[in-house]
Subunit: 340 residues, 2 copies
């Protein structure tokens, strides 16, 4: 069967600063026959995520670095085409971590069977029903301890995580939600589609000035996807007792030297602020609560989500680079099977 | 009676950078007769504390700025010499906020009667039995959530707060306590008198290198009195899930421009770190628990404390400047009554 051939993306060399296509190679791999307990999956979609940039560096972190000359990994969703396991049946839709390839094969324990929801594409399991939206949920509720009536600021607000943060914040009682994004189109989306109360283009003027204008009474919660001057602006805008969930710092991922921190760290003391970083992998115990809430919201039409779909495993590097450049609206995914 | 004359220190002009004697004036004030409900107190000791530097700026903060041409305030302890209140009796020892003067007068509600403990000078109520040690206690237990077995790092460790942090950490289960200070004598005190496991002089070599050497297995808790390169070093040394209580940043108080923040803020995300600032005034509800613990520890000889005493209200500005320069060991106080 043709499914025995897998097209895969490998890290050929470690990028310095911005990655280029030269840092990757695309290989075709003939898969072995299934061993007992294994399954083979034809991926529908693979996920490209900002955290993957960190894994391209040879630095010890919460996820191990990608190994040069080996196929990269990441979130993916697909259909089981062969199974040597009692736990997984051919035809099942499964979510797993063997992304960056069009056909995946491995022990069934690494594949989670999920229901196929009518009208919802399976890519949703990489976004609104997956780790992406769980990141928003956990960051707001478990890290920033969102309270009724809070004013919430989100950076990277039109991205996969940010657009969920804004909507979940409102659904959980925030009184005002402010977002920043990098194009006029995204800014319009924030207020017109995602229900933000205010939004601004961080390229138009200093973030600190625009945030002060959008939040005249200050902010209580900041969800940081960007770092840099956005974090500094949040520290300036915080009310006493403000809380920041630090999720990422995409503005710094491709810096070759260390970026200086905010110049107003002293506000952390004088205003009694709390900054907490997190990676969603340590908070998966909240997945059931998240799924219960999100399923209800989706069913009731209270949450909208967008995807930017790039076609073809051979374009997955370009999709990742586009993500780093902010070309996506909502979740960036790569569709790995041809649209017949 | 002579107690009707009070010598007081006023802020004459706002310092830029390091304060000088010219920024202050010493005035003699004739006190009014006691109004009903008022008391008059001859201070034994007044407190000089790093946070007062912030109050000399005209900046909105958690405590209001000192008003130019008015007598400054701050912690003080003294004896009641006259009382027009049923709540306070002549001869009582009282703790209050009308410092920076040798004779204080005001509504009895602002004066807290404390027991005179044999063998313990009343100045202890400004340090080991007062807000100073409460700061250490709250920061470790309520902010940094100290756990059994933690490795704890404290900057400004020979100071009034720092020396308490190290001792309380050990008494509450820390397995290793590391401190930094600015002279060889203080470093020796840390290990020989205050029970620190390791200590270093931050002027000898980069803090990051010295901390890495003192904490080969990383740190779990950082109590920050200093800011700047100390905080950056802590962020580099933190184990996953590390927690920082940010209490002050004495290294930055006299900077005229904003100091750049740590260059390794990204570690907050990747290691799931928590940084929380606090000012002790918001945590006075823990005072009873603190007093119970501290009284037991003092009685059992489990806590030692030092004071640096400067004599004379007229030398209180110099005492404050000495504190900013790190000339004190333990709590810096000014003895305001002559030693007859």
């Amino acid at each position: 069967m043709t499914d025995a051939t897998s097209t895969q993306v490998q890290l050929a060399s470690r990028p310095t600063g911005w990655p280029t296509a030269d840092n990757f190679s695309i290989v075709r791999v003939e898969l072995d026959d299934l061993a007992p307990g294994e399954v083979r999956v034809v991926n529908d979609f693979i996920s490209v995520d900002p955290y993957m940039r960190g894994r391209m560096n040879d630095v010890k972190s919460y996820t191990p670095p990608y190994v040069l000359g080996e196929t990269m990994t990441g979130g993916a969703v697909g259909r089981v085409v062969a199974s040597a396991s009692d736990a997984v049946t051919v035809g099942d839709t499964v979510v797993h971590q063997l992304g960056w390839r069009d056909v995946a094969q491995g022990d069934a324990a690494g594949f989670r069977v999920v229901p196929q929801i009518p009208g919802v594409p399976s890519s949703a399991y990489l976004g609104v029903l997956g780790m992406t939206a769980l990141t928003a949920y956990v960051g707001l509720l478990e890290i920033a301890h969102l309270r009724e009536g809070d004013t919430v600021f989100v950076s990277g607000a039109a991205g996969a995580v940010g657009s969920m943060v804004g909507q979940i914040a409102r659904l959980k009682g925030a009184s005002r939600v402010i977002g920043s994004a990098g194009t006029a189109e995204k800014v319009a989306l924030l207020t017109e589609r995602y229900g933000f109360d205010a939004a601004f283009n961080y390229k138009d003027a200093p973030v600190m000035d625009q945030l002060a204008q959008a939040a005249p009474d200050g902010i209580d919660v900041y969800f940081d996807n960007v770092g840099g001057d956005h974090l500094e602006a949040a520290l300036a805008a915080f009310n006493d007792g403000g809380r920041a969930a630090l999720c990422g710092a995409i503005s710094e991922y491709n810096e070759t030297g260390p970026a200086a921190g905010p110049r107003n760290m002293a506000n952390i003391v004088t205003r009694g602020l709390m900054l907490q970083g997190f990676t969603v992998g340590n908070y998966t115990q909240h997945f059931p609560a998240f799924m219960a809430d999100m399923t209800e919201w989706l069913t009731a039409g209270k949450v909208v989500f967008d995807e930017t779909v790039v076609d073809g495993i051979e374009n997955s590097v370009e999709a990742f680079l586009g993500l780093m450049r902010g070309e996506n609206t909502g979740k960036m995914v790569v569709r790995t099977t041809p649209q017949d």
